[in-house]
């Protein structure tokens, strides 16, 4: 084995040398992976492009002050997880990796960031609960990721159309959507998908179906990690989705990608979508005609609850294979400290996970969360990025009570992460809504898949529960 490997290595080196010689040119960078004095960060391409224009130079500047060379690479949001898989498999790549959902499936490969969180809490006070629940595994007691920001997920509605049907303030309850769908079609025939809630294998749909499930009282797990998807509440949520699909949607929503609902809304082809404000910012940038009708509502009220999943939950991890772990931790602290800049650079898209980090300088720790909250509210009440009226986004300042984490009412553990990544719930909703399976069969199928995934992680002692699976 030894000799074979040497043989291959010699061979590859020879070929490599030959190829490099053939290809010598200025654009070929043979990067020497010098460990010391470097920090390589992998980020998504932010949904608000302006953010990247702030982040990259900011990170580089932080590095030059600290004496390290910082590199920032961006990938599309859908490539964040595959890229992580590839780097972990190869045990090399970046030092810091940002996830935008749950990083929990990678818990074994990342270092514990407990000390970072402790430092930050000492400085700024506690982080918001949903950030804590998305980055900490109470079962293994590991802080596997650090969240610097999260993104609220309000409803977006077309005010002109909703005014015409007699609800100028937009929908309030889930029943409003079912009632409104045929009315909208009457007053706005171009809206053949009056309610634009996706049921496809993409992230927006993944959150939307969770909202429906939770508001009907169902959930995948209970707070102790038992799988409780098989329940009358889930059935009620599926029946609801079936009803909504039949009156308010077409097959198009089964193949929607993350951009489709925005695009449909921006083209005024739907009257309600669930999305963060990035689509709104796109409409502003392009001065689209929809802009004056673009309004927001908080999470809708369901029979049992009023909840919405966060839209994005940043989870920065530091890989175990990284040779620059200490610098990486320092960087994460600095990033959280820059809460105000981050929120403004993202045009109020990012909300700080540590409200205290947005406080007035010099505020004592026990007052910081409050002070930060006040600053955030001030921004939302008077949008610095040209909303008309300026308080269009005011509701976002009050979004914490109706926002929750993936894994609600428990923690965002690895099993929840895998269920999210493999679209178990969207498949369940799509099958029930389109009638491919009865709501009951669809629920049973999903429940079996969920239990298999939970069991797998329980065997690895990373997920609790199991005693009370339903």
């Amino acid at each position: 084995m030894q000799t074979r490997r040497q043989f291959i290595q010699r061979g590859t080196k020879l070929v490599a040398a030959g190829a490099v010689a053939t290809a010598a040119g200025p654009t070929i960078l043979v990067r020497d992976a010098k460990a010391a004095g470097q920090l390589k960060i992998l980020q998504w391409s932010h949904f608000v492009p302006a953010y990247d224009k702030w982040f990259d130079p900011w990170a580089k500047e932080w590095g030059s002050k600290r004496g390290v060379e910082v590199t920032v690479d961006h990938v599309g949001f859908a490539d964040v997880v595959p890229r992580a898989t590839a780097e972990v498999a190869a045990q090399s790549g970046h030092d810091v990796h940002m996830f935008l959902g749950l990083a929990s499936a990678f818990e074994e490969h990342v270092i514990d960031l407990k000390d970072v969180v402790a430092t930050l809490e000492k400085k700024h006070g506690k982080q918001v609960e949903l950030a804590h629940r998305s980055t900490y595994n109470p079962f293994t007691r590991k802080q596997f990721a650090l969240s610097d920001m999260w993104v609220p997920d309000p409803g977006n509605y077309h005010k002109e159309v909703w005014t015409k049907i007699g609800k100028p303030q937009g929908p309030v309850t889930y029943d409003d959507l079912v009632w409104a769908a045929p009315e909208v079609k009457k007053v706005a025939p171009q809206m053949q998908i009056p309610i634009g809630v996706g049921l496809s294998q993409d992230i927006d749909s993944n959150m939307a179906v969770r909202n429906i499930l939770w508001c009907h009282g169902g959930s995948i797990q209970d707070k102790d990690g038992n799988v409780v998807l098989n329940s009358p509440e889930t059935l009620a949520a599926l029946e609801y989705a079936k009803k909504l699909y039949s009156v308010g949607m077409t097959q198009a929503v089964l193949s929607w990608n993350a951009a489709s609902n925005n695009q449909a809304f921006n083209a005024q082809e739907t009257s309600y979508i669930l999305n963060s404000i990035s689509a709104y910012r796109t409409a502003q940038d392009n001065k689209l005609p929809v802009l004056e009708h673009y309004y927001f509502v908080p999470a809708l009220k369901g029979p049992k609850a009023t909840l919405a999943s966060e839209h994005v939950m940043s989870g920065y991890v530091v890989w175990k294979f990284s040779k620059n772990q200490d610098v990486a931790k320092e960087f994460l602290v600095a990033l959280v400290d820059a809460a105000r800049e981050s929120m403004l650079a993202s045009k109020l898209y990012n909300f700080p996970s540590f409200y205290g980090a947005a406080a007035e300088p010099g505020t004592p720790v026990n007052k910081r969360a409050e002070s930060g909250g006040a600053w955030i509210t001030a921004q939302c009440n008077k949008d610095p990025f040209g909303s008309n009226p300026p308080d269009k986004l005011a509701l976002l300042a009050k979004s914490v009570p109706w926002s929750t984490n993936l894994g609600h009412p428990g923690f965002g553990n690895p099993a929840e992460g895998e269920i999210f990544d493999t679209y178990v719930l969207t498949d369940m909703f799509a099958k029930a809504a389109t009638g491919a399976l009865s709501p009951k069969d669809s629920m049973m199928e999903a429940s079996t898949r969920a239990k298999q995934i939970f069991d797998k992680w329980r065997q690895k002692k990373m997920v609790p529960g199991g005693g009370k699976d339903k």
Binding site: T12, A19, R31, S45, F47, A86, A89, A90, A259
Partner: protein
């Protein structure tokens, strides 16, 4: 075709199907071009006539050049495709020449082995490949893809070249050997020059595959400035919840041009090699 065709038969037999073919093959490009010339407000206006451009605008092209590394991506793609094509042709000749023209032990086994390599799916290879690239400290460099693309290209180059080499009569080589030339000389001076169309054909085929490759580029290249066109365009112009359709279409349109230029010169030879081996051999 034999025989004089009447005007009407020529219409039905030539012009009509030709027009249909043109429409089928080219309408996506027309749609690309039309989209890329519409400003966003017009693009998202459902009342606008889809086939008409009311206010032609170069804004997407300007953004593409100003905001992204598009020009760099094009350069990278051409460089990577050229280098990996050259490597593949060299290795392909070395593989094909003996297999097509020599008798030696284990030739049959070798031919089968080479044939089997066509069947190896990229999806099986990319994780081990990433490992290999990292151990060679080539992660995130263009060299990484220049070295891995030939694994996709060499088998096809060899296949095409074997076919072509077989068309050259063995006597030519024997005559050269009798005249005192070494085998090497006979190959480089007599046989290979006769096979130029074969090289062009295999080269163009390899080039097409290389500039088209997506998976390895997606996984091996991080930095924006060392990306290739397919990965750069999808990675940076599709931002999750907003497709920059105008810029995307501008990029698709411009990204197609370099290959089109290359093909317009070489299309003649392209097919010559593809068929020579199979028809005569």
């Amino acid at each position: 075709m034999v025989g004089e065709l009447t005007w009407s038969r020529r219409l039905v037999g030539l012009w009509l199907p030709l027009t249909l073919l043109f429409v089928f093959a080219l309408f996506p490009f027309a749609w690309m071009a039309a989209t890329s010339l519409k400003a966003n407000a017009e693009l998202y206006d459902p009342t606008a006539n889809p086939l008409w451009i009311r206010h032609p605008s170069l804004v997407h092209y300007i953004d593409l050049f100003k905001e992204t590394n598009f020009v760099v991506w094009i350069g990278n793609t051409m460089l990577v495709a050229t280098v990996s094509t050259v490597i593949s042709l060299l290795l392909g000749v070395m593989l094909a020449y003996p297999l097509a023209r020599m008798r030696f032990p284990a030739a049959g086994l070798l031919a089968i082995t080479v044939a089997v390599t066509y069947l190896v799916p990229q999806t099986l290879l990319f994780v081990p490949m990433a490992d290999l690239i990292n151990r060679m400290k080539l992660g995130d460099t263009l060299t990484a893809v220049m070295l891995t693309y030939p694994t996709l290209l060499v088998p096809f180059c060899a296949w095409l070249l074997i076919g072509y080499f077989k068309t050259v009569p063995k006597e030519l080589e024997e005559a050269a050997l009798i005249d005192g030339a070494s085998r090497w000389r006979a190959m480089t001076r007599v046989i290979l020059p006769l096979c130029t169309p074969g090289f062009l054909s295999a080269g163009i085929f390899a080039f097409t595959l290389a500039q088209n490759e997506f998976l390895y580029a997606l996984l091996f290249l991080n930095t924006s400035t060392i990306r290739t066109v397919p990965v750069g365009v999808t990675g940076e112009l599709i931002r999750g919840d907003a497709f920059y359709w105008g810029q995307l279409m501008a990029a698709a349109f411009l990204g197609s041009l370099p290959v089109v230029l290359i093909y317009s010169f070489f299309v003649k030879y392209y097919v010559a090699g593809l068929t020579a081996g199979s028809v005569k051999g």
